[in-house]
Amino acid sequence: MIKTDGLIKEYDGFRAVDNLNLKVKEGEIYGFLGPNGAGKTTTILMLLGILEPTQGKVYLFGQDMAKDFLTIKKKIGVVSEKQYLYKEMSAGQYLSFFADLYGVKNSKKRINGLLEKLNLLEVKNRKLGAFSRGMQQKLGFARALLHDPELLLLDEPVSGLDPTGIKRIRDLIEEENKKGRTIFISSHLLSEVERLCGKVGIINKGRLLAEDSMDNLKKKLTDVVELQIELSQMKKEIVDTLSAFDFIEEIKEEGNLLTLKIKADKDYRAQISEAISGQGGVVLGIKTKEMSLEEAFITITEKNISLLAKED
Amino acid sequence: MKIVKCRFVLFSLTLIIGWVFCLATLSGAQAPELREQLVYGLSVFNGRGYTGGFTPRTEDTIYLMADKNNAISARITLVYFWPITGKYVAGFQALNEEVEGVLEVLKGEKVIKTLEKEDNSRYYPEGYYGEACLLYKGEEARAYFEKFMGAIEEYYKQIAEYQQAQIEYEKNFNDFLEEIKERREAGEEIEKEEIEERMPREPTPPSPPQFYVTPPTKDYVINLPLGHYKIRLRAEDGTIVQDSEKDLVLFTCRREGGTGYGIIPGNRWTRKESCDDPSWIIYAAGENTLYFNPFIQDEYNELYYNKLEDPQNRGREEGWKWVHIKSIEDVTLLFSKGEEILQRIVRLPYYVEQISGPELGYEIVEFDPVKMPDRQPTFEGYKLELASTLQKTSYEINMEKEEGELFQGGKREIRLVRKEKAKWLYILSIFPLGVGLVVFVGRRRLKS
């Protein structure tokens, strides 16, 4: 559905996007993650043909963006962080205008249907200047879905929304994906991406550092596992014995709670239990704490590690 | 950054406005200064006659009519700028030094003619004040001038004879009066017929020559076909005289034989109008007296013709102007509305009479040779009176030759305007606001 080949964008010698190769399959929800200034928006603008790449090509729906610019864009729906509405228009007029622009047939029915679905029908004739942030965002979705696009590009779609709004938009995204729409989400809210996206791409300083399914990405990132062991009684001998193991990298003791950072290459839990029992200790419980995507994202971007390079 | 840019634009604009203001002040501060320079004196054909002038150093081009004799002379004179007219003026009375040499005419870089100074005279067949004029050169010029001098001599002779006859007449007249007086005193009754029969007749003064010829002067007479040339003055020592190089444009009319009208409004004898182009319309209030004077006219390039009349004139190279060449006299002016001829007007002489008293105006009256024996008509024309009773619509004038044949190109439209409805124009202006209101109300209704 989306494919970029060695996409580069330079501004006065500064490389905002560097040799970006993206692949998004049809029907997928793709999360595009990166810190501020990583090149996410520049990439989206190039995907939309609004910015011309310095080098490289964008293919959407298998077509070259540079050649079939308008035909391709007609099949995309976009929701950005801010909606930039024509404040003097009403919601109905606004959607009518875009329906006209996209050449939507039976536009009246379609507009009313979308407004109803997004709980905006009641404010159809209200001036957009009087719309709340949440209403504006919902109207943005209505505009993006108006022409029944095959691909939805969402740039920070839930930014600034209250929890109810976020839930409604999240449900909507899932619903649209179920209908077979491909969804590309650029977001800094990692929890959202983690929750919604099957595949994630991480970009930093214009470079794509990782691109994989959520599970694989986590596996690749979590080479250290944290174990929290609850003991009946803390003993110095236990700590000393455990410290002798090579696979244990760090030990922290806090009351009867022992926190170990161990290598994730093998399951060492049995070996640890045995060592504790050997020193007269009683294990009340063991909890494994996996690294969240947020932690993985911070690790990968701070260290600027390219998992793709590792693969190579 | 943007604010800096905006400020820069505003600052630049202030500078520009200030600069324009400074220029305006500077222009007012210039004092006229006399400068000695080489100029070309001109006596050039303008389609009707000859017109004079000079080309100051600031003018690079001289414009002349093709295939006509035009006389030009090179002179050193004092030139000064006259701010009121915005033109240079030559002080020929203070300095008028003829520059010796030959005039070379070049086509491209090649000298095609070398002109020596030769005698030339202007011949005015209608007299000194007539506009028609011909320029003769060489032997012909001298012959015409001699003919004119002969005519003048003959006239002076006739004047002398007339004065003698006048003296005799006055003497005879007095004698006759005396005789009548004596006979009446003697009781004789004298018949009126006898008095009329025997009364001495006053001699008729001789008429001066009807033509005028200027004394021959030595100038370069240029007669060249259409085209662009250059001229320069080569001094006797073979050098090119400084500032003598000029471009020369020889032109002719674009169209000839057109018909135009000079119009004298009844109250504006001094400010005549003209209606030269058939597309021009005469707008009148319908309480007018207009005197029409039809002309044969030729059409010339506006810039070329203006520059021909005075090299310091301005004009548009893309513009054209009609020039009245010859008056049309043997026609009848028709005033009509549609097919219906309302008036047939014949050409009559008119006299412009000063109104005595504090009004200091004038009145145009029909010239009557009997009532005005010592006067000449001021002009001749076709008098059209547009009565206030005429319907405020479109009318036409045209010229009719003999046998009902219309003069080609003589048709002009006269429109009588409806002045009384002028105030309605402002009400008409409100119309777009009305449409705006309809749109506004329509939108409101649609919304509700």
Partner: protein, 278 residues
């Protein structure tokens, strides 16, 4: 595929022009400007009529052309302003980016704006026809073919004005800057014109060498400004009509078309290069 792109482009232009035209015609601006221009015309015409009295006559082929010229200049200023803020306002408000998410390209956007403004002027032309027809009925000043020619000329010169406004707008990011630039450039044209008139009035050859140099420079600048200033196309066209020079008139129309095309192409390429965010 190229044909599909073209038809999409045309559709986009139509949709954009339709929306903008509706918005313009729904607001009071155009009606008030036309009203003001007609008041100015009526004032001139009333003066013309006032000068035709008693034996005073007026001889003219096209007495309505001058009022039309003044009206067109007033409306042109309004349309220039409208064009000059059209792109920058959308950039300023961010709506331009949202438009470009859809099937909108720089060319379809600029041409859509151009078409809208030209159509707005067509509406004004309808007002002109009604107004001058009314003038003709009221005063018998006549509705000549030359007036028709002048109205036609005005369409082409207004096209120049609109293209010029769009060009200024494509260069600027903020609406306020567009207005300042537009007014600034127009004042510059005026300053060149006035400066040249003043310098031409000075005695040539008797002024200082600096003033002579200035005069020559200004003469060149003025000649250039005559081609750059969109308003000069109207005065040249009206001049050609009054000169009854059809060739010059046609040539001026051709120049107006070339001028409009050049500025529109420049605007499109600037918008492409600068992007929707300025």
């Amino acid at each position: 595929m190229a044909g599909k792109e073209l038809s999409l482009s045309i559709h986009t232009m139509k949709a954009l022009a339709k929306r903008d035209l509706y918005s313009t015609l729904s607001s009071w601006g155009i009606y008030i400007t036309t009203f003001v221009s007609f008041v100015a015309s009526s004032f001139i015409l009333k003066n013309f009529l006032g000068s035709i009295k008693g034996d005073d006559i007026l001889i003219s082929a096209d007495p309505l052309n001058y009022p039309l010229f003044i009206s067109t200049i007033i409306i042109s200023f309004y349309l220039a302003l409208l064009s000059a803020i059209s792109i920058s306002r959308e950039k300023d408000q961010g709506t331009l980016e949202v438009l470009f998410y859809g099937p909108v390209s720089s060319s379809s956007y600029i041409l859509g704006k151009y078409i809208k403004n030209i159509l707005t002027y067509f509406v004004v032309v309808l007002f002109f026809l009604v107004y001058f027809w009314g003038v003709s009925l009221l005063t018998n000043m006549g509705f000549s073919s030359r007036l028709g020619k002048a109205i036609l000329t005005s369409i082409f010169s207004v096209s120049c004005v609109i293209s010029f406004g769009l060009f200024i707008s494509s260069l600027t990011k903020k609406m306020r800057n567009s207005i300042i630039w537009l007014i600034g450039v127009l004042i510059l044209f005026l300053a060149v014109e006035v400066g040249q008139t003043i310098l031409l009035g000075l005695p040539q050859g008797e002024v200082s060498s600096i003033l002579t140099y200035l005069s020559d420079t200004l003469s060149v600048v003025s000649r250039g400004a005559n081609w750059i200033s969109p308003f000069s196309y109207l005065s040249r066209g009206i001049d050609a009509i009054s000169l009854d020079n059809s060739f010059l008139w046609g040539l001026n129309i051709l120049y107006s078309i070339i001028y409009s095309v050049i500025l529109l192409v420049l605007s499109i390429s600037i918008l492409k290069r600068k992007g929707v965010r300025g």
